[in-house]
């Protein structure tokens, strides 16, 4: 798979990375690098012996898989323009996480039910698992990585911290994006309006009350939205 090869034209350094670059020493390994490396080791350990032991297994012939159709698109992600040749079948989520390496957006159910993958497309919350990257030509996307300004989290993110809105944290990026869109449209929502705006974002920890409190605490603050584009 060439899936992890970045072939966009975004200038180096414009794609925010969530963690510092890994240095030469083992202590500099990031969590993501470590998990990626150990998964590969487990797969190798699990698969290799079974192939060797099963003498009757038919020889697996690697068939040539025709290249999946690709299309060139241009789009803006967190204010940075990208030109990218995407596979037609990539979801927006796949594109953001696996190809732009913007892993702040999570993938939960991958069936438009949980909301963990919520991003803003031209300002509106959308499930990135349920739309295609190829349909994003000309669009402006905002992800959780785009909420901070000059190294400071948005007022909404700060309120999430202060109100303990994240427990396990997996739904948080999606909750933040849906709430950001709400506050940009309605700076002073009622608690009921917050609940209705976040109805498409499930929290497995069931921390809904704290999430609503955090959004209300951040409301009315212009800085809560992380700015527009």
């Amino acid at each position: 798979m060439e899936g992890r090869q970045r072939n966009g034209v975004a200038p180096v350094g414009t794609v925010p990375s969530e963690e510092p670059e890994a240095g030469p020493g083992a202590s500099d390994l990031t969590r993501r690098d470590f998990l990626g490396g150990s998964t590969a080791a487990l797969v190798a350990a699990g698969v290799a012996p079974s192939v060797g032991h099963d003498a009757t297994a038919p020889t697996v012939v690697q068939q040539a898989v025709p290249a999946a159709p690709r299309t060139a698109i241009r789009l803006t992600v967190n204010g940075v323009e990208h030109a990218f040749e995407v596979e037609d079948r990539w979801t927006l989520n796949e594109f953001l996480r696996d190809h732009l390496m913007l892993t702040g957006t999570k993938l939960g159910c991958e069936r438009g039910e949980c909301g963990a993958c919520t991003v803003l497309v031209d300002g509106s919350p959308v499930y990135s698992c349920s739309t295609l990257a190829v349909w994003m030509d000309g669009k402006s996307i905002r992800t959780v990585e785009g909420l901070e300004r000059d190294g400071r989290v948005s007022a909404l993110q700060q309120a999430f911290i202060e109100h303990n809105a994240p427990q396990c944290g997996f739904c948080t990026p999606g909750q933040l994006m849906a709430a950001t869109a709400l506050l940009e449209r309605n700076a002073r929502p009622t608690a009921d309006e917050v609940r209705r705006a976040l109805v498409g974002n499930l929290c497995r920890c069931s921390n809904y009350n704290a999430i609503v409190e955090a959004v209300l605490a951040a409301s009315g603050s212009a800085a809560s939205t992380g700015g527009g584009e």
Binding site: T71, E87, R89, T118, Y127, A178, R196, G200
Partner: protein, 336 residues
């Protein structure tokens, strides 16, 4: 997902031509509007059209200019493009004021994220959400030869119009559109045609593979809702097994033409209880020319479910539907 080609159509003619071209080349085609439902089916390897198989080609309709508009024609007809999103419908002041049931139906659909991409055409033409169909059972809707719900887990299934398949039509817009007398505009390889609400949706006993008359190269390009007569008011009431983000257990779209406290005429269309939006003419007739009292509303509710034939596990839907109709009629008569 299995690999496929996305083709962006710039016009309805181009969309139909791209679909034809692909079909002639032996490739299966699906039209994509919002895509939420389509991509889900594709991820689960469930054909969006039983006869067509999984799509090799997606014809993306989102770039077609003009289909995302809501317009009022000279005679007051509301012309809604097929690509109008549910969010746009919810936020449209004219729809809210004059076609209230439609706005109320749209805002009960799914979640903001889905309403932001989901379209009028896609909502009306979505495939059933029967758990057997969606989990890959070879049922009638998937081109198979039986309905697993008939003798299985049929809590959410039809109490009207079932057989041989017992799916319920999943759309919230559809009952509201039919109650408001909407006509469905369909483009295809032949000339554009207009289909009434009564003819657009088809029962399983007419065609078990489909929920509507759309053929493979047909596109639902919009719906026209006639101008309501003076004194018309409408409402949509949906009951779910939780407060949001699911389909109707039972719903009712009610349109009443009022003259003071007398109802001149009414149309009542049920959702969540039949394979198509289910009209109840006997209940409607009880309202014509009458003052709407609590007692009459109760009778209307009773008449609405007179023809119900529940399955083993969904008899609860009968009193539920009766009360949904009764309450909606009463509330609508009291609405200023």
């Amino acid at each position: 997902m299995r690999a496929f080609v996305n083709r962006n159509a710039r016009s309805v003619e181009e969309a139909v031509a791209l679909a034809r071209e692909a079909t002639l080349a032996g490739r299966s085609v699906a039209f994509a509007a919002g895509g939420s439902d389509l991509l889900q089916l594709m991820k689960d390897h469930i054909p969006s059209r039983a006869e067509a198989g999984e799509p090799d080609v997606l014809v993306n309709l989102k770039g077609i200019a003009g289909l995302d508009r809501i317009e009022s024609a000279g005679d007051g007809t509301l012309r809604i493009g097929g690509l109008v999103t549910l969010s746009a419908l919810v936020g449209n002041a004219l729809v809210r004021e004059r076609f209230t049931a439609l706005a109320e139906a749209a805002e009960t659909v799914a979640t903001p994220q889905i309403r932001n991409v989901g379209t009028v055409a896609g909502n009306v033409a979505q495939r059933p959400w029967c758990w057997y169909f969606r989990n890959g059972f070879p049922c009638f809707k998937a081109g198979g030869d039986r309905c697993f719900s008939a003798g299985g887990e049929n809590q959410l299934h039809a109490i009207f119009g079932g057989g041989p398949s017992y799916i319920v039509h999943p759309s919230d817009l559809a009952p509201a559109l039919v109650a408001l007398g909407a006509r469905f505009r369909v483009a295809g390889p032949e000339r554009e045609r207009v289909v009434s609400g009564g003819d657009f949706f088809v029962l399983p006993r007419q065609d078990a593979l489909r929920e509507n008359v759309l053929a493979d190269a047909d596109v639902l390009i919009g719906v026209d809702v006639p101008a309501p007569a003076a004194g018309t008011r409408s409402a949509y009431h949906k009951v779910m097994d939780r407060e949001a983000w699911t389909h109707a257990l039972a719903s009712a779209a009610v349109v009443m033409v009022m003259d003071g406290d007398v109802c001149r005429s009414a149309s009542i269309v049920l959702g969540g209880v039949a394979p198509i939006p289910w009209r109840v003419p006997e209940a409607e007739a009880l309202l014509a020319g009458e003052r709407v009292t609590a007692e009459l509303a109760r009778e209307v509710g009773t008449a609405a479910v007179a023809g119900a034939r529940p399955l083993a596990k969904n008899a609860y839907k009968v009193p539920l539907t009766r009360r949904v109709v009764e309450r909606t009629v009463l509330a609508l008569a009291a609405r200023a």
